[in-house]
Amino acid sequence: MRELVEIRPPAPPQKKTGETALTVENAGAELLFQDSGRRGLTHWGVSPSGYSDREAAREANRLVGNHISATVLESLMGGFSLVAHHDTVLAVTGARIDLTISGADLNQPLAAKLNQVFALRTGQKLTASFAHAGLRSYIAVRGGFAIEKVAESCSTDTLASLGPEPLAKGSELVLADDVELSVSSPSVPLPIPQVGKTVNVRVIPGPRDDWFTEAGQAAFYETNWRVTTESNRIGVRLEAEDDNAPVIERKLSHELPSEGMISGSIQVPPSGQPVVFMTDHPVTGGYPVIATVHPEDLRIFAQSQPGTLIKFTKLFPDSGVPLA
């Protein structure tokens, strides 16, 4: 007997832009527009902003056939729900959340998968659970969002309150027509750190590692650090897992004159609790940076729930090989 193969009809063409495509019924802890951010505006003190987990955001865009730098929704800890007013094509990446599609036209709710394109048809609702693991989810809609750029980007900068307002219950989302390619086949979700497990993060030492003693620097690399709740898009604050861990001892005790900062800079303030700068970081800072996170590992901090353990590995910048 031959197998019965069900061929799904292709999704009907999306309506033209200008109309509300989706409404936010629940925004969860935080739901923001983000794109690739702002560049070249540091002379006005404007932070780079943009996706916290750039790789997951790009993957969501790639799946739906958008330009990889298109505007997406960035959700903190899941718990969001969206209702479609006409047929839409979505993909969700990042934190491990359960996605459910419900609607009057369905006999029972459907499960949607991460890293896989799915349709959300007129009248259907997409509900996300809270994140079991990871912190940030990226929701890309085919065509992108039709919102005005502010200072050349659609990103919400949470430090400066620049860009679109955070989304809330009742927010209406209008789609654009900016399609690059056809949708892509499902992909493997990017790794997500687990609470209580230790993740190795590669860092390049400096530029102010010489502000710390040898013992202080050793303490930075040997300590098991724990992500605290004092973390957001601006920075992730770490504390030693062991209360008796040695201090990151300073060699120079005077104040550091303010200097330029980058995403991934790890500042050590007098408290001794390192802060890892994320994309909404201030353009200049006054505490010495002992090391900088490798750009490919920055997403670990974008996805670490409080309680995740971090161990830093020193990387020699031009070899890609970890130092002893």
Binding site: R39, G40, T42, H43, W44, G45, V46, V150, A151, L159, A160, S161, L162, I204, G206, P207, R208, E255, P257, S258, E259, G260, I262, G264, S265, P282, V283, T284, G285, V289, T292, V293, H294, P295, P317, D318
Partner: protein, 203 residues
């Protein structure tokens, strides 16, 4: 511009932090880098005593670090940093800040003298920093140099005029801050709907 005092620090994979020794030198170096157009440089961030160069890739970063002085020495001979005297802004300040008495004590002056001193000084916008519209204002006169507060405030009202070290600054919006507040201004420092959005600019 003094090239002899410069040290170059690798910053992450593809950035270089140049120690310039002073604000004057940092601004000169920044001006020179902006003119010569360093290969692969995508952003220049001047600050109190440094210039940060962000490069598009590791390759450009390494190339620059092989011979950084040659890049700086190339091009036209160094001109001293010009003061753009056409761009002078007068900012009206009401001197009723919470830390005015403290500043007076630290500076060894009466409160009236502090106000007179602050209004008589000419400030140059040195660089931007910690928020859109927040500029570090610098004056040659050192009379009002005071340290930051030991306990920063969690909320500094928008428009507050503050002092820290050799700089004055105006908080464009309500934010945390550790500077000594001596007054406030109603002048809008940052409005995204204006072009340009910032009231002040470096220089």
């Amino acid at each position: 511009m003094n090239l002899d005092v410069l040290t170059f620090n690798r910053y992450g994979l593809r950035n270089v932090l140049i120690d310039c020794g002073s604000l004057e030198n940092a601004l000169s170096i920044h001006a020179r880098l902006a003119t010569v157009e360093v290969a692969g440089a995508i952003e220049l961030i001047p600050a109190a005593q440094t210039v940060l160069i962000r490069f598009a890739s590791q390759k450009y970063c390494r190339r620059f670090l092989k011979n950084p002085l040659s890049v700086l020495e190339s091009g036209a001979p160094a001109t001293p940093t010009k003061v753009n005297t056409d761009a002078e802004r007068v900012i009206e300040v009401l001197y009723d800040g919470e830390d005015l008495a403290e500043v007076a004590e630290l500076a060894g002056l009466s409160q009236e003298a502090v106000i007179a001193q602050h209004t008589s000084m000419e400030y140059r916008v040195a660089f931007a920093g910690f928020a859109p519209g927040f500029f570090y204002l610098h004056s040659e006169d050192r009379t009002l140099d005071v340290p930051r507060r030991t306990n920063p405030r969690t909320k500094v009202p928008a428009g507050s005029v503050g002092l820290a070290g050799e700089f004055s600054g105006i908080y464009p919006r309500t934010s945390p801050g550790g500077w000594q507040l001596i007054g406030r201004t109603a002048d809008p420092l940052w409005d995204i709907h204006q072009d340009p959005p910032a009231l002040l600019a470096p220089g």
